[in-house]
């Protein structure tokens, strides 16, 4: 909300309090001033134009003015023609800086001296008008401009949702007064003094269908108003707060809204179908031409103000064009009501229309405010627009605001704050904030919050009130420390345990990424991995409408992005959740959120490069699993979406499938605009963490091992893993390790066959093995392989 410093001065004595001081005090009280525009007019003087002549030589149209500055006359050149002789104008003399930042200098324009500048409203930050010079309605030549227009500062403040009272200057001024410990100059207006028609003759009839949605409706009739522009001071304040002046009646309703936080609406009484107001829900197919010029479709969950025939306003949101006040208006119906916050919020969202009024009603205004606001508006209308205010108001108030008393054990203040606040100071603070404090016999305080503070209901709320005025800076920082008799032993967080994986990935040349979990659902569908996808019902856009079921599409996209930006070799990974809707569960069940580890890497162009990259990636994955101190994974030939049909393995841990590894399917890479091969894996990482064991030291071997190589020629279809398992089985206890290290096709190997080379390490824990012993085992292995896999052997 925009707060005018100058306006606050109506209520609090700001003598010696600069705008910066005020902003600081307010921020420390909880009204956060986020930015401030200072409009310092003290350097600007008032001048009277004596003479105006067009510039004879200038190419652009310019006017030369002789301006009376009280004690002398100065020649000033301006580009606008509206400062005709006799006009009172703001003048910035050479050497001054105008509020918009422009520095004024002595100039010579095409042979004519120009000493100073005539200012527009925009240059003085008093409005948007930059076409003409600001013409003043009063003032004495030579006097400072501040004699007619005060210097100003506009604060942009964030009002928390519990303080609708601070959405008006009066409420903010009360905070400031409490913070400065100064009295309020004036608070709620006294009762208006309206005169008028004989009572009861043409009173407005008000009926409210649902008091839960409208707890109060005040309708006041004001007759014989003269609609015209509102006075300059009012227009200036409205503009300062970002509200466009329209006419005196509408301006007054807006002015009171900005002052008291109570939204008001003025209807043209003659344009209503009879002086009856019906607060009801909209009916099927009803529409309203709203003040913003748009026809709004209304639905039955929206509250409207209707006359005998039709809706004339959306309650608490916007009025209707057909009953609006115009220059022809003579009699008005002034509405000051209280509407239910959630209902106004819902309607305003449904209409996509947030107004000054709805922003206030949404936060639940106190119904007591309605009368104060109506009275203030009525007296301003009587004063500024003439008109006679009907003595009697329709005031339908089915849900009167009840006072809420709060009992406070004053020691709670010290207990919660952690510092000692003297009781007198605490009591004085509450009183400054308009709370009534009654000290009871047992020492407890019976506290009655002011009528505009619906947010204070529990003792802790009162502690906050005391604390924020007392000053939280005065509370010394401490660390909690008791003699605990109970504790939870420390254990590393899951994420810290996963750092072991991050170390392996970093050492293998992979960089960690964090990618958005919300992805385009259409993409998951195109990749055929959308079966368990969770769809957002109110997405921001279709680029973020679905929770990802796999990390791989995000990594593929990241690879594309980096390639597009000139990085051809990409190795990246991510550790994050995937989200899988539970099959067979009722709608509305929480999905599974398995934590995944996924990686991808560029893998060259050729089939051989791709194969080698898969094998390297397997080592990376094995390294991650080993780093977690989990047993090694096994790999089974598999096929799945996203992966190359001939180059994909299921990753198995203790018989449980963790995920897949392999080369990406060429259509997947092509679809992502990547030419060349890409290898990837994605696994569930929690089972790996669960399988993690503390490594137990093994005794070092005491006898030397014997190494032998074995090249096995077999049919293409026999997998290295199968041969390896067979070798282990055939070799018996003496075989310590066997590992395939080469695959060969070519001379000496028949078509349809391959040669797989293994390194075998034999060792006995009891003795040094002899060649003869090892030879014997080797020949048993060979015989076995010959028999089982029709293997032959290369020498």
């Amino acid at each position: 909300m925009r707060i005018s410093y100058e306006w606050l001065g109506d209520f609090v004595d700001l003598d010696g309090v600069t705008p910066k001081d005020a902003a600081e005090v307010l921020t420390r009280l909880g009204v956060e001033v986020e930015s401030m525009t200072v409009v310092d007019l003290s350097q600007i003087v008032i001048g009277k134009v004596l003479e105006q002549k067009p510039h004879p030589k200038s190419r652009n149209p310019l006017w030369i003015h002789q301006v009376d500055l009280g004690d002398h006359v100065q020649q000033i050149i301006a580009g606008a023609p509206n400062a005709v002789p006799g006009s009172l104008v703001p003048v910035a003399l050479p050497g001054t800086t105008v509020p918009n930042g422009k520095v004024v200098k002595d100039m010579n324009i095409a042979g004519f001296k120009a000493s100073g500048m005539l200012c527009s409203a925009e240059e003085l930050l008093l409005g948007e008008d930059h076409a003409g010079i600001l013409i003043l309605d009063r003032g004495k030549p030579g006097d400072p401009l501040t004699s007619v227009i005060p210097s100003q500062a506009i604060m942009e403040a964030e009002i928390t949702s519990n303080r609708p009272d601070c959405m008006g200057h009066l409420g903010v001024a009360r905070e400031l007064a409490a913070g400065l410990d100064r009295p309020m100059k004036r608070d709620f207006m006294p009762a208006f003094t309206g005169t008028a028609d004989p009572p009861g003759r043409d009173l407005v009839k008000v009926s409210i269908d649902d008091p839960d949605l409208c707890s109060r409706y005040i309708g006041g009739v004001i007759k014989g108003v003269r609609v015209g522009p509102s006075p300059d001071w009012m227009q200036r304040r409205l503009r300062a707060c970002g509200v466009r002046p329209i006419n005196n009646i509408v301006d007054i309703t807006n002015y009171v809204l900005l002052e008291y936080a109570q939204p008001l609406h003025a209807f043209d009484l003659a344009r209503l179908s009879g002086p009856a107001i019906h607060v009801r829900r909209a009916r099927a197919n009803e529409k309203l031409l709203a003040l913003d010029g748009l026809v709004r479709d209304l639905t039955s969950d929206m509250l409207v103000i209707a006359d005998a025939l039709r809706p004339v306003a959306v309650a608490g949101v916007i009025g209707g064009e057909e009953t609006a006040v115009t220059t022809a208006t003579r009699d008005i119906l002034l509405e000051s009501a209280n509407f239910n916050g959630p209902s106004v919020r819902q309607t305003s969202r449904a209409l996509g229309l947030r107004t000054e009024a709805s922003a206030r009603f949404e936060r639940a205004l106190p119904p007591e405010l309605a009368l104060a606001g109506a009275r203030r508006a009525a007296s301003l209308i009587a004063e500024l627009a003439g008109g006679s205010v009907h003595r009697e108001w329709a005031d339908v108030y089915p849900r009167p605001q009840q006072p809420v008393r709060v009992n406070l054990r004053p020691a709670l203040i010290d207990d919660v704050l952690g510092t000692h606040v003297p009781l007198e100071e605490a009591e004085s603070i509450l009183k400054r904030l308009n709370f009534h404090v009654k000290v009871m016999g047992d020492g407890e305080w019976d506290v009655l919050p002011p009528v505009f503070r619906l947010d204070v209901t529990i003792p802790e709320d009162l502690v906050e009130e005391v604390g924020r005025v007392y000053g939280y800076d005065r509370v010394p920082p401490t660390l909690p420390g008791r003699r605990h008799e109970r504790w939870t032993p420390a254990s590393p967080s899951l994420d810290r345990r996963l750092d072991a994986i991050r170390e392996v990935m970093a050492g293998s040349g992979y960089t960690e990424t964090w990618n958005p979990a919300l992805v385009p659902g259409r993409k998951l569908e195109a990749l055929r991995i959308a079966a368990h996808a969770m769809r957002v019902s109110n997405p921001l856009s279709d680029d973020m409408d679905t929770l990802r079921t796999s990390l791989l599409p995000s990594l593929i996209e990241a690879m594309t992005l980096n390639r597009d930006r000139g990085r051809l070799e990409v190795r990246i990974y991510e550790i994050a959740e995937a989200y899988l809707a539970r099959v067979g569960e009722r709608n509305g069940a929480q999905p599974e959120e398995p934590l995944r580890l996924a990686a991808i890497a560029s893998a060259g162009e050729t089939a051989d490069e791709g194969r080698d990259a898969v094998y390297r990636l397997k080592s990376v994955l094995d390294g991650c699993v080993a780093a977690m101190a989990a047993p090694p994974c096994a790999y089974d030939r598999a096929s799945t979406e996203l992966f190359h049909p001939g180059r994909c393995a299921a990753v198995m841990l203790d018989g449980r499938q963790l995920g897949y590894i392999g080369e990406l399917h060429p259509t997947v890479t092509a679809g992502a605009g990547i030419d060349g091969r890409v290898v990837a894996f994605e696994i569930d990482v929690e089972p790996v963490v669960a399988a993690s064991r503390i490594p137990r030291a093994q005794p070092l071997p005491r006898f030397p091992g014997v190494q032998r190589d074995l090249a096995v020629i077999v049919d293409e279809t026999v997998a290295a893993g199968v041969l390896q398992a067979a070798i282990k089985e055939l070799a018996g206890d003496l075989l310590e390790q066997v590992r395939a290290f080469d695959e060969y096709r070519g001379t000496q190997v028949p078509d349809g066959h391959k040669s797989v080379a293994f390194t075998l390490t034999f060792r006995s824990p009891e003795r040094t093995l002899t060649d003869a012993e090892v030879d014997k085992v080797m020949s048993e292995i060979k015989q076995g392989l010959e028999k089982r896999h029709r293997a032959r052997f290369r020498e």
Binding site: R28, L29, E32, S35, S161, N162, G341, P342, S343, R345, E362, R363, V416, G418, T419, I458, E460, E464, G467, Y472, V475, P476, P477, T478, L479, P480, H484, R486, W487, T488, A490, S493, D495, R496, R502, A506, G507, G509, T511, E512, T513, W514, P516, A517, L518, M534, V536, M544, L547, S554, A558, L561, N562, I572, E577, Y579, G588, A589, Q590, E593
Partner: protein
Amino acid sequence: MNDPSALTADAVEAIGKSQTSAELERIEVEYLGRKSGHVSKLLEGIGRLSADERAVLGKAVNEAKRMIEGALAARRSQLEATRLADLAETEAIDVTFPGRPLERGQIHVLTQVRRQIETVLESLGYQVELGPEVETEWFNFEALNIAAGHPAREMWDSFYFGPGLLLRAHTSPVQIHAMQRIKEPPIYIITPGRCYRRDAPEATRLPYFSQVEGLAVDKGLTVGDMKGTLLFMIQSLYGRERKVRVRPSFFPFTEPSFEFDVSCGICGGMGCKSCRHKGWLEVGGCGMVHPQVLRNGGIDPSQWNGYAWGFGIERMAMLKHDVDDMRLFYESDLRFLEQF
């Protein structure tokens, strides 16, 4: 050549002239070689000599051998000393030549910052608690004292999956889960994790982000304890010259509620461009846990009280590393990620 002393003199002279260890090797073989070395040859025909002559010759040959060996060793160590002394010239490399690149990946800056935050708070005895990202409305709102229609719900515009189910807007639901699970205070936990709000992506705001919240439930906790904890955390992360201030604010789940600011690291609180002349940078929210929230977590507020705080990991990383656009964290551009 059969005079041992002349032979020795020749050998010593040759050794003295030698310049390399290879030369010495050759000389050694020439004189001391087992079969055809000059010294061995002196003994040829020793069988024809008398016992006395044999003893004399043997002694002379041994003496020659010892002398030559001594000269060889001396010359060797001399040459080695020279070689070592000359290393600076003979084996100099261009140390300004760039190191050979390693294939080394980076850990994401947000992981690094999250790790730092966890480490600091773990040192105060806080433990990490995790919870689901797709939450029920009750845990995300009602349990935190944010009833349906509450104006404060505006602060957490959320993504829904139909009625009652949504992407959590903060990690606060984990606090409720944790209280319900742990049951008996003291509870000192932190809850890092991803959160979601329906905000269009821009430089300082994203619809997805990461938070860390902290919760302490114990006997007699105070606003002062909360301030001290925040100050400890901030000074540990950013340096002990940093200050923390708490400003009154409003959250339905804390009473009193605050926002907490950290003094600007660039101007030290004097006000500069990077803190928009405020001297302070907004970091997060905090407050004393609302009694109703404790009740919703199954904790008796007449026995226990607590404080809680929360902030964005991205925000902390932006402050620490001068990142000006939050989107960079989630874009996966290696040129950005490799800077940390």
